[in-house]
């Protein structure tokens, strides 16, 4: 009557096989979607079901990308935008956390500026572009600032409320050992809010892309946002769509990186 270990193992192998089969089926479907999307696009464009001028076509886009990869210019644009995005992201996140720490340290200050924070937060930051140009001049600084400003307030608010949400009992433990305010922050508040801080990263990386692209729309000579604007200006939708695709891919990669970081840090 006793089940031999080999049957346990066999059942497990069967289970693994089922999993693998399912995974393969999912990948096949993903490929089907991918292939049919692009071939439908190509076909519609060739058969003029859609206006090839406005919607270009996958072959045109890949030709363009190939040409731009051969002369290396696309990498320059990608590099510029990536650097700006990372800089904007870091700046926004770090500033936001510092601001949140300041608010935590001075609870009265936080009560005083609360309504102003609400207004600043609700403000659609993309409308501030021109003011940033006035303040920082037309150049990289403005673009990076745009990438940062879009995330700093929301980071402040989220991280500050994480600080406030830390279980009072951790603080009690520390105070029972005679800890001072700085020690409480360092030993309990900050590490306990770590998961929230990491999860704002995920939001901020997306926001920084928005900020940087909008910034590049306003001032730039290089970068993927510039390519989009320039493409529109000379009515080259192939260039526009190619840039959009590159943006989508890199934004997705960056997002995945941050997500992987999150999983790693929060688990460990």
């Amino acid at each position: 009557m006793k089940q031999s270990p080999s049957t346990d193992e066999t059942r497990f192998q069967q289970h693994l096989k089922k999993l693998q089969k399912e995974k393969r089926s999912i990948m096949i479907w993903q490929l089907i979607i991918f292939a049919s999307f692009f071939s439908l696009w190509e076909m519609s464009s060739r058969l003029r079901w859609i206006d090839p001028l406005l919607f270009s076509s996958p072959t045109k886009i890949s030709d363009l990308l190939l040409a731009k990869a051969t002369d290396g210019s696309i990498f320059m644009h990608i590099r510029v935008t990536l650097l700006e995005t990372v800089a904007g992201f870091l700046l926004g996140t770090v500033l936001g956390i510092l601001l949140a720490a300041t608010l935590w340290w001075f609870p009265k200050l936080s009560k005083i500026i609360d309504p102003y924070l609400v207004i600043l937060n609700a403000m659609p930051k993309v409308a501030l572009g021109p003011i940033i140009i006035v303040a920082l001049g037309p150049g990289y600084f403005s673009i990076i600032a745009m990438g940062a400003i879009i995330s700093v307030i929301i980071t402040t608010i989220v991280v500050y409320s994480a600080f406030q949400g830390v279980d009072r009992n951790y603080v009690k433990v520390l105070r029972s050992f005679g800890a001072n305010r700085f020690q409480i922050f360092k030993e309990a508040i900050l590490p306990a809010s770590f998961p929230t801080i990491i999860s704002t990263f995920k939001v901020n990386v997306g926001l920084s892309w928005v900020g940087v692209i909008v910034g590049e729309f306003l001032v730039s000579q290089k970068g993927l946002g510039y390519l989009i604007i320039y493409g529109f200006q000379v009515f080259d939708f192939t260039l526009v769509l190619a840039s959009l695709m590159i943006i989508a891919i890199f934004a997705a990669i960056m997002y995945q990186l941050v997500e992987r970081l999150e999983r790693k840090l929060i688990r460990g």
Partner: protein
């Protein structure tokens, strides 16, 4: 000699709408080396009382003195209602938290930590994180953390409530033995009548709304020398249990009406 004395402690919690009177006019004194328990329904102010004794809360009225001096914080060890180990620190780091905060981590302290962890059977998980431990192990680690700063007075807030029955009985034995060994003065808060009888010299039964001392029971001397597990099996245990049970039951009925 009186070690700890509470003089007419009253505490109110304020909110915008009104106030809750958590405890009212509680006075008592505890001798050095004594083990005292507080029994009472939920919300009768047990945690509030411990927080006041620990100096984490200033009572709206009354004073606390320890050895005739106003209370100084660092010679009190306070073990909260749950373990509150810091999940981002290893067990060793958690246990060394007190010395770390007080800025005096020495080799000696580290050795002492290892020694305490060995005594309570946690030597194998020194480098583990709290999430890798079972509930009982976590409670033991929290106890070790509390003992590290060598407090003269120990405050234990339902240290065993989150445990299953067997683990709880074992840990009661361990704690009782350790406290006797280190000659600590201890205050235990619990919901469990059996636990209170099994561990303490004196049992204070509190009533709620507002929290007051309703009755005091002395545990007979011959029970005190037994381990908690043995006490629970002792014939006299049941009598005391019944008495306290009825007292509590009556308090509850009163408070409902």
């Amino acid at each position: 000699m009186t070690f700890l004395s509470l003089n007419h402690i009253t505490h109110q919690y304020f909110s915008k709408q009104g106030f809750t009177k958590a405890i009212e006019d509680v006075s008592l004194s505890i001798e050095e080396g004594q083990f005292v328990s507080f029994l009472g329904p939920s919300g009768c102010g047990k945690t509030t009382l411990l927080s006041i004794i620990a100096g984490l809360l200033t009572p709206t009225e009354g004073t606390v003195t320890i050895q005739q001096q106003p209370r100084s914080q660092t010679n009190i060890g306070y073990m909260l209602q749950q373990d509150y180990l810091f999940p981002w620190k290893t067990i060793q780091e958690n246990v060394l938290l007190g010395p770390h905060i007080q800025g005096n981590i020495t080799e000696m302290k580290k050795e002492k930590a290892i020694q305490i962890l060995e005594e309570i059977g946690l030597e194998s998980v020194v480098k583990s994180y709290p999430s890798q431990l079972s509930g009982g192990m976590r409670q033991r680690a929290a106890l070790a953390r509390t003992l590290m700063t060598d407090p003269k007075l120990l405050l234990l807030d339902e240290p065993f409530s989150a445990l299953d029955y067997q683990t709880k009985l074992k840990l009661e034995n361990l704690v009782s033995q350790m406290l006797k060994q280190y000659r600590k003065t201890s205050l235990l808060v619990t919901h469990d009548i059996g636990e209170a009888i099994a561990m303490s010299d004196t049992v204070y039964v509190l009533k709620a709304r507002p929290g007051r001392i309703a009755k005091t029971f002395q545990v007979p001397g011959h029970l005190r020398t037994l381990t908690p597990f043995e006490t629970r099996q002792h014939a006299d245990f049941n009598d005391l249990f019944q008495t306290i049970w009825k007292e509590l039951d009556q308090l509850e009925t009163e408070s409902i009406n």
